[in-house]
Homo-oligomer: 299 residues x 2
């Protein structure tokens, strides 16, 4: 998909119900048989608006992107209605020929990791038949619990042609608190995580189905992490609002054009606040600008 679209751009969707595109608000049609509970009505209407907003943003930038990255927290805070909107947004992204990355940062012991694998990649057997999971193409995962916590997710993803992005070096300032700590045996915590990621990859192939989240805000580490994970796809958040710059990301693309995926959220969705114009047009223009800049980094 990266080669076909000449794009490594991922649309990040972190919808805030208080800051949606005006056109999304206009699309809220109300709900049938509203419950007596005002907060439930608010949740249902807000989720409708969030769903409309995400669909509008997807439609605006899809041709310049290869994937969407959905921040699960923003859907979970709307409860049952939010999970319904999440399902609908995934379906809309798939219809727009975008891959879907669930940015959920899950991580738990083996039996619970297997349940998360069912939720995101697989299905759950019940006495009433199979219940389908979300069916996403990739999931961000947290490796603090170690290899046995990742194994069920790797297996489930691989079984359906999906993949993982393991947190290795995140984009926030607090990444220094733990991830940058030097280990007695050499390297940092992130370096060790990078080795675990490399270890989890399949035996052959060009790019691995176990990728890594590497923040665009610490470009100085990119080259070293690329050396430890020669075949991992890097998911690179932090461009724009968090201070990362596309032009610093070249080492990510060493294994080829699809070696790095650049996730941009606020920089696209709120481009009109900086550049003026209609939200959809401003987002499309900014997406095309970033796509072209990233593609220019591929040697």
């Amino acid at each position: 998909l990266v080669a076909a679209r000449r794009s490594q751009l991922v649309l990040g969707l972190d919808p805030d119900p208080a800051r949606l595109w005006p056109e999304a608000l206009a699309r809220v049609s109300g709900i049938q048989n509203p419950p007596n509970d005002n907060a439930q009505v608010a949740a249902a209407l807000a989720a409708q608006a969030v769903q409309a907003h995400c669909s509008l943003v997807i439609d605006a930038v899809a041709e310049h992107c290869v994937a969407v990255k959905l921040q699960l927290a923003c859907f979970e805070r709307l409860g049952v209605s939010g999970w319904r909107a999440l399902t609908a947004v995934i379906a809309h992204a798939q219809r727009a020929d975008l891959l879907v990355i669930a940015d959920a940062k899950r991580g738990d012991i083996d039996v619970s990791a297997a349940a998360y694998a069912q939720a995101f990649f697989g299905h759950t057997n019940t006495p009433w038949g199979e219940v389908h999971g979300l069916g996403v193409d990739a999931l961000t995962v947290n490796p603090l619990l170690g290899l046995d916590s990742l194994a069920p997710l790797v297996g489930a993803a691989r079984g359906v042609g999906a993949g993982l992005f393991v947190l290795v070096r995140t984009s926030n300032p607090g990444a220094t608190d733990l991830q940058d700590q030097p280990l007695r045996d050499g390297g940092t915590v992130s370096d060790r995580l990078a080795r675990l990621v490399a270890q989890l990859g399949p035996a052959g192939g060009e790019l691995s189905d176990v990728g890594a989240v590497v923040g665009a805000t610490a470009p100085g580490r990119l080259a070293a992490l690329r050396k430890s994970m020669p075949r991992a796809v890097f998911l690179l958040p932090g461009v724009g609002a968090q201070g990362g710059r596309v032009e610093d990301l070249a080492p990510a693309f060493e294994p080829g054009p699809a070696g790095g995926l650049i996730a941009v959220s606020r920089g696209l969705v709120y481009a009109h606040e900086r550049d003026g114009g209609e939200p959809s047009m401003a987002a499309a223009n900014e997406a095309e600008r970033l796509r072209e800049m990233a593609w220019g980094l591929v040697r």
Copy 2:
């Protein structure tokens, strides 16, 4: 609550739709206006059964426990219906006078952590009014992203009298892959996490609202971690199916009876498979046995 009930026992609920109490299956009443989609019907019926199962288990053991710990993965795998069941189980536990711990192991950058705080502790402002979060009493969180990722959760929890349990040393074998790694400056990754937990606690008071998940499967580390976190409540999973033993947990209770909470899931829910008898009676008997054993550790 610990003092009033003379109990440090937490009921862990990790409901598997293929392994529910028979009485729960009998309570599934069907759904009105079933959708055409078979998988959605299965999800709705399975979620009904999961909700009935969790309610039955809660009713069986509530008097011996102080809290329930809900494994979010087990609800997420049932999608929208699962989130609805989660909400209902939380309400049922609250009616049974149990505290509610969401075992979600969330962790993300500041803006997303704030959204998770809204989902679990707070509310979300929307143009249609406030949407309520789950309203739990505590949340398990993953500290890999550092202090700035925990701060919004600490603030939100503290604001409503709730708390956090930060992963410090988990109960699974893979905990050795990262958490047990020695740092160059001394101590292990877990030791450093323990210091972060102590740092996040409030200035005064006896027990902190920032607790720690410390697996019951590595009792040798308990005393050292207690020294680093003198006021943290330890949430202790891993007793029973994972091999941990109540009698090894004494250091957890040094700050007082509520210094440690022992989470038992399969050991209670499937007690009848080992001990015979009705599931509810076997669970109640095992809960009372574990409660008494733990209470006996308090000096």
